[in-house]
């Protein structure tokens, strides 16, 4: 009985933490979402959300988050795969992860310099004879920078999944007649699927609510749910509408996690 009591005592800090920093904010967001801009209790925010403006914004958020996740995965999987084959794989992994330690804002500003009208990218294009282009404030630059930022978060879980896999499994598949491609399709990929899922989660969910990059890199040409929330709170001062969008964002995240959650192995 005593051990149970002390165990409960130890749990108190964690329970408090979750209560204050997880449950309370969600409850507050939910609470504010039921007040309109005048401070009256109403459902107008929810009705407004289903107007074309916000629906379009939601769809475009989804679309960009999807593109970012897809490109990040496309780059990260082969990279992680090659990493496991290198001799000093931990060193290479570290080198890839290091950029993620640098502040997001700093990296965004660095890209402003690189992609700007007189930046490195344009100088290169000049030299190649293509001529300078408008790179900044385009969909391309937004997705490029986002993908760059998210790559380490995708590589890590995939690398771990690949690294854990026993190499004799590959010999076994080969032994049973599988070509390199079949081995990948039937053994390697299914066994690293959990890594891919968690990688997609850590990329897709933040990508849905990116807001700083949308302003700095794409010059507000791309408006995601994240941008909308920021604008409602800071510019329009419509906390109710901002909260409502946040509620939907939270719901979407839960649905996404539930959908991509690791299923029982072996169908």
């Amino acid at each position: 009985m005593k051990s149970k009591l002390s165990r409960n005592l130890y749990a108190i800090p964690y329970a408090l933490w979750i209560l204050i920093f997880v449950v309370a904010p969600i409850v507050l967001v939910l609470y504010y979402s039921f007040f309109d801009i005048e401070g009256n209790l109403s459902l107008t925010n929810y009705i407004n959300f289903f107007t074309p403006v916000y629906l379009k914004m939601t769809l475009s958020s989804f679309w960009y988050a999807f593109l970012i996740t897809a490109f990040t995965l496309l780059i990260s999987y082969p990279t992680a795969f090659l990493l496991t084959k290198t001799k000093n794989k931990q060193l290479w992994l570290l080198l890839i992860i290091v950029p993620s330690w640098i502040n997001l804002l700093l990296k965004a500003y660095a890209f402003l310099g690189i992609f700007g009208t007189y930046g490195t990218a344009n100088s290169l294009l000049e030299v190649l004879g293509i001529g300078s282009k408008q790179i900044l404030f385009t969909d391309f630059s937004f997705i490029f920078v986002s993908v760059y930022i998210f790559i380490p978060f995708m590589i890590l879980p995939i690398f771990n999944a690949l690294d854990e896999m026993s190499p004799t499994l590959l010999d076994a598949a080969n032994d049973l007649g599988a070509s390199a491609w079949t081995t990948f399709r039937r053994v390697i990929f299914p066994l690293t699927l959990d890594g891919v899922r968690s990688g997609c989660q850590v990329v897709f969910i933040p990508a849905l609510s990116l807001f700083m990059l949308t302003r700095l890199i794409s010059g507000n040409r791309v408006i995601t749910l994240g941008t909308a929330i920021e604008q409602q709170f800071l510019v329009t001062q419509d906390w109710g509408m901002g909260s409502t969008i946040a509620v939907f964002l939270i719901i979407i995240m839960f649905v996404f996690v539930a959908l991509t959650g690791s299923r029982k192995r072996g169908m």
Binding site: A172, N174, D175, G177
Partner: protein, 369 residues
């Protein structure tokens, strides 16, 4: 070269970087339908031979023939061999049925046929009804059987087994030895079994290759290798032995520990220095007067079926005796043995020379118990 030969190694060397070769100029033949064991200590090159046959690694030099064709450049997935791995290498994301069906799925076999064959293969290894189990739900012995079923379903001509019993407990291991031997006889295909366990090798094989330092030391039937080891390494590695230095005085007469003994060995040079092997179970405890050797009992261990007695003669040579009779520690006893129990080994004799010399003895003498 007869039709019976299925695999042939010709001067095969395997070397990583500039290291000492893992395999050094190895040549041998494997015949159809037999149970072969590659026996040796870890790092001796036995697994490398297996990997060369399977195609997981390439020979640095030499040719590997399969059914008379060089297969050095044939990739693993195109070879008519299947492997049972040491850690079984079962696919954790697939259930038992899909693991066994893996090879057939790749060959795009029809659904009904896959189901039929998987069922047959599982029945063969006594695993009927386990089709839908996940691999993690299976015990070590069961996983072992799944791995075997997965290997035999492709109907390979040769099955390679890489220390497949090493992860099992002693009792299960002994059971699986019988089962593997029986399975090989039922299937009638060639098994090449790698192990460092001499008892396993002696119990199961038709032929044993004893390997050390990248060379085949000796090959032959279990009784040949046990009774007539070619050198100190083989004598020491297979079973327990008493090995002493001696001198071959003439045919059938050898001298060791300062005495002369009749033996069955012949064809050596007069006064040639040799090593003499006597197996502990061939030594019989008797009174000091009746013994051919006089020794003092140093220690005694009860091993269940026999006592293992360690004793020393006056020159300080250790004599290990396996006896069902108990001795008393500290006693002076006599050891008696037949002239057939003495086995003489020359220094640096090749297997070829050794075989030739043995043949000259004729049948019945020394070769058999």
């Amino acid at each position: 070269m007869s039709d019976q030969v299925i695999i042939r190694f010709e001067g095969v060397t395997k070397q990583y970087d500039q290291d000492i070769p893992v395999l050094n100029d190895v040549s041998f033949e494997i015949e159809r339908g037999k149970f072969y064991t590659l026996l040796g200590p870890s790092g001796c090159g036995k697994t490398t031979i297996l990997r060369l046959i399977a195609g997981f690694t390439e020979a640095t030099q030499g040719e590997i023939y399969f059914n008379g064709n060089v297969i050095n450049n044939v990739p693993a997935n195109k070879r008519q061999v299947n492997t049972v791995f040491q850690d079984y290498a079962l696919f954790p994301h697939l259930n038992v049925f899909e693991n066994v069906a893996f090879g057939l799925r790749i060959k795009k076999t029809k659904k009904e046929e896959v189901a039929k064959k998987v069922h047959e293969a599982l029945a063969f290894v006594n695993l009927e009804g386990y089709e839908n189990r996940e691999i993690r739900e299976m015990s070590g012995g069961q996983r072992q059987r799944v791995a075997i079923a997965r290997a035999i379903i492709n109907e390979p001509e040769v099955i390679l087994l890489d220390e497949p019993l090493s992860a099992l407990d002693l009792k299960l291991r002994t059971e699986m030895q019988y089962e593997l031997r029986e399975l090989q006889q039922r299937l009638g295909i060639t098994f090449i079994f790698v192990t460092h366990d001499q008892e396993e090798a002696l119990a199961m094989s038709d032929e044993i290759f004893v390997i050390n330092r990248g060379k085949i030391q000796q090959s032959g039937t279990p009784t040949d290798i046990y009774d007539e080891p070619i050198n100190r390494f083989v004598a020491d590695f297979i079973g327990e032995s008493n090995i002493v230095k001696g001198k071959m005085l003439a045919d059938h007469l050898v001298e060791f520990v300062g005495k002369q003994f009749d033996c069955v060995d012949q064809g050596l040079n007069p006064d040639e220095p040799v090593e003499v092997v006597i197996r502990p179970e061939d030594l019989e405890i008797t009174t000091r007067e009746r013994g051919k050797l006089q020794v003092r009992v140093d220690s005694q261990l009860f091993r269940g079926v026999h006592y293992e007695i360690s004793s020393y003669d006056k020159d300080g040579n250790e004599w290990l005796v396996h006896s069902t009779k108990k001795a008393t520690v500290g006693d002076e006893i006599g050891l008696y043995f037949d002239s057939e129990a003495i086995h003489v080994m020359r220094f640096g004799e090749t297997e070829e020379e050794f075989d030739k010399r043995l043949e000259a003895y004729g049948d019945g003498v020394g070769n058999e118990e």
